[in-house]
Structure formats: structure tokens, C-alpha cells
């Protein structure tokens, strides 16, 4: 291997990207060539230093702008996909004036009839569709954020979960998982609060009861107890009694558990 050949392999050598044979040939060359050895060490040190240069982090407004724009783009796509009503009407509209007048009267009569029929205020299909889209967007944002490494992102995910539909089982599962497993107390605490909206689901109650004995932070334990009281979950009384009787549990938490048992009786 020549010096020129060795030099262009340097970055791959630092990144451990060389194949075995190439790496051996490269190291043999370094062992024999002091100039290349010195250069490899000098530049290698800078290469390592580059990995330590702090990364610029985007501000929170970038995410907000993106989701707003995406939502607007989707709405634009939907409305562009729908055929224009004028074109449809024009295709059916008669060419003769007499028939045009007859059609006008027929439309007027039909309009009056439909007006009477619609007094029951049925939700319009478009509004329903739009609602579904917004719900799906909220779900996507909440789920994406809840999986992030940074605790502040996960907290934002919980905030988005507040806006999810109470019937959204995917968001509910993500919140339950955050309550049970998240390493950050603030995320767990906020996730417990967000579960209020999902009171109707038996899964929520079951998950809260299961999380209670495993939770170690008193502030989250109290929030879980309060949630069970809000749910009026009498089946949870047994678990709460156990907690109240456990000596290793924080005194304030035990008192709160005892209070909850009394409220649920």
C-alpha cells in the first residue's frame, strides 16, 4: 500500500469501516511509515473531536409549523380530488329553455322537500370525514412523540394525547405504557392525568390498578389513587387497602390510599 492509498482510507479507518484485509494492509503500512502514522493520529484526533461538537437543535416552532402545513396540504388534496359541483350540474342541465324552467321548478320543489327532511340535523359527511382526519393526525403526532428519546418530547406527546378521541385505543395503549414504563416521573405523572379522558375504557382502570403497586414515586402514586377515586372503581379497593398497609410505602401515600378506600365504600 502506498502513502496516497493509505491517506484516503483514513476516515474509514477512524469510522471502523474498513474490511478486514484492507484494515490489516493499512495497519501494516502505518507500522512502516512514520509520516502516515503521525498524520493518522493528528487528523484522527480532530475526527473524534468533530463528534463532540454540540449539535444545533431545532426550536419547538419547527414541529408546530410542519404539522399545520401538513394538515393544510392534506385538506387541499382532499378538496382537489372532489369533482367540482358546477361541472356535474352543467353536464345534466338541459339545453332547451322550456326544459330549463321545468327543471328549475323541480329543483325548487326538491329543495323544499330536502329542507324539511334535514331538520333532524344529521352530521354532514364532509365534516365527519374532516373530524376523522384530524383525529388520525392527532393520534399520529401523539404516538410519534411518545416514542421519542427526549423526555420533553414525550411530555409534548402526552399533551397531544389529551386531544385524542376517548375511543382511540392506540393512544390509550401508549399512555398506559408511559404510566407503567416511562423512566421520567413528569411524563408518568402527566400520562396519569391524560388517562382521565379514557375513563370509560375498562383497559384504563385495569392498567391503573396494575401500575399502582409498581410505582415508586409518591407523587405519581397519589395521582393514580386519585384517578381510581375519580373512576369510582370499587374493584380497586382491595389493591388500595394493600397499599395502605404496606409499611415501606411513603406515609402520605398510605394515608391517601386509606382515604380512597373510605371514599370507594
Amino acid at each position: 500500500m502506498t502513502c496516497d492509498e493509505a491517506k484516503i482510507l483514513l476516515p474509514e479507518y477512524w469510522s471502523q469501516g474498513l474490511g478486514e484485509a484492507e484494515e490489516i494492509a493499512f495497519e501494516v503500512h502505518l507500522a512502516d511509515c512514520e509520516a502516515c502514522r503521525t498524520e493518522a493520529s493528528r487528523l484522527g484526533s480532530l475526527w473524534k473531536g468533530l463528534a463532540l461538537v454540540p449539535a444545533e437543535e431545532p426550536g419547538p416552532q419547527l414541529r408546530g409549523r410542519f404539522y399545520n402545513a401538513l394538515s393544510a396540504y392534506r385538506q387541499g388534496l382532499e378538496s382537489a380530488a372532489r369533482p367540482r359541483w358546477k361541472d356535474k350540474v352543467a353536464a345534466w342541465w338541459p339545453k332547451q329553455p322550456a326544459w330549463q324552467m321545468a327543471a328549475s321548478f323541480a329543483l325548487l320543489a326538491a329543495g323544499i322537500g330536502i329542507g324539511y327532511g334535514m331538520r333532524g340535523e344529521k352530521p354532514r359527511e364532509e365534516v365527519h370525514q374532516l373530524r376523522e382526519e384530524v383525529a388520525s393526525m392527532r393520534q399520529l403526532v401523539a404516538l410519534s412523540l411518545l416514542q421519542q428519546q427526549s423526555a420533553s418530547d414525550r411530555l409534548r406527546g402526552v399533551s397531544w394525547a389529551y386531544r385524542a378521541e376517548p375511543s382511540d385505543t392506540e393512544v390509550l395503549s401508549a399512555l398506559v405504557s408511559a404510566v407503567k414504563n416511562d423512566s421520567n416521573v413528569n411524563v408518568r405523572l402527566q400520562a396519569v392525568d391524560a388517562l382521565h379522558a379514557f375513563a370509560a375504557s375498562p383497559m384504563t382502570r385495569q392498567a391503573v390498578v396494575q401500575a399502582l403497586p409498581h410505582e415508586k414515586a409518591p407523587i405519581v402514586q397519589v395521582a393514580l389513587i386519585d384517578l381510581l377515586v375519580d373512576f369510582k372503581d370499587r374493584d380497586a379497593a382491595g389493591e388500595l387497602r394493600k397499599l395502605a398497609a404496606t409499611e415501606s410505602v411513603d406515609g402520605g401515600v398510605r394515608e391517601r390510599a386509606q382515604w380512597a378506600v373510605e371514599r370507594l365504600q
Binding site: E56, L62, S144
Partner: protein
Amino acid sequence: MARVGAGEVAQLAVLFERHHRGLFRYFVSMNRNRDLADDLVQDVFFRMLRYRGSYDPAQSFTAWMYQIARNAGVDQARKRMNDVVDIEEFAERRAELMSPAPGPEETAVRGQDLVLLRRAMDQLPAEKREILVLSRFQAMKYEDIAEVLGCEVGTVKVRVYRAMRALEQIYFTLEKEKAS
């Protein structure tokens, strides 16, 4: 991306969560302007939507995305060619991005001053800075970088080496200035 290409536009949110930080760092490294980087990241994702039909799932997604990013950056630079940047605004931007004194996490590591290293990166010519940003900050494969830059893999290796040499020279110059 294949799902976005098939019309599931909402899936773009997943790509955004995965890649917006990397793209932001790329643009800040290239332009030293956070507001402009915000706009360009946004632009890249909407170019991805617009040109989703051109994405070939057999191709590397990262390479395709950075090709779009480069084009967005070039278009923006062309637009700004006619803009006269006020010298005070320019100085302000640089001051925002460069902390005057190293913080605790930026103290010298292995005898290096990371603030100096960042300043050396800023002073590199754009094409050298770009290749280091892609290969080191974004940890992209050389094959993908070659696709983004439209050159051979061997050329990428040579360019990375040359960029490191240039970086070293600037770094030592700055170090001497600091010492004197």
C-alpha cells in the same frame, strides 16, 4: 417513504420525526442561520411530498432526501444572491451561534477546544464543510454521499481526506491566534 409515495400523506409525519433534527443540523452547519434552517427543513419535507412519485424504493432514502435538501439549499442561496445582508445582522447571527466562552460540556477534550473546532468548521469552504457534515455529523455511508454529490465513492474518500487536512490547517491557525 414508500407509503407516502403510495398516497399515505400522513406518514410524512413519521419521516419528519425521524429526520428533521439531522436536516436542521445540516442546514445550520451550511448557512449558520437557524431561521433559514427552519424554513429549509420545512421546504425539504414539502418537496418530498411534491416529488414523492420520483422516489424509487430500491434507492437509498437518505441519499434521496439529502439530494432534495441540497437542491433546496441551492435554490434558497440563488434567491438570496440579490439580498444584501446587513453586516450587523450577519454579525448578530454569528454571535447567536457561537458562544463566546466554552461551556462545561465544551471544554477541551483530548487537548482540543470544541469551540475552536466549530469555528474552524465554519471557516471551511462550503463544499469541504458539506462533505464533513454529511460524513461525520450525519454519519452517512460513502455510497449515499456519492449519490447525493453525484460522484464516485473513491472521490468522496479523497474529498473527506482533503477536507480534514483543510480543517486541521484552519484549526491550528485559530489556535495560534488564540494563544498569541
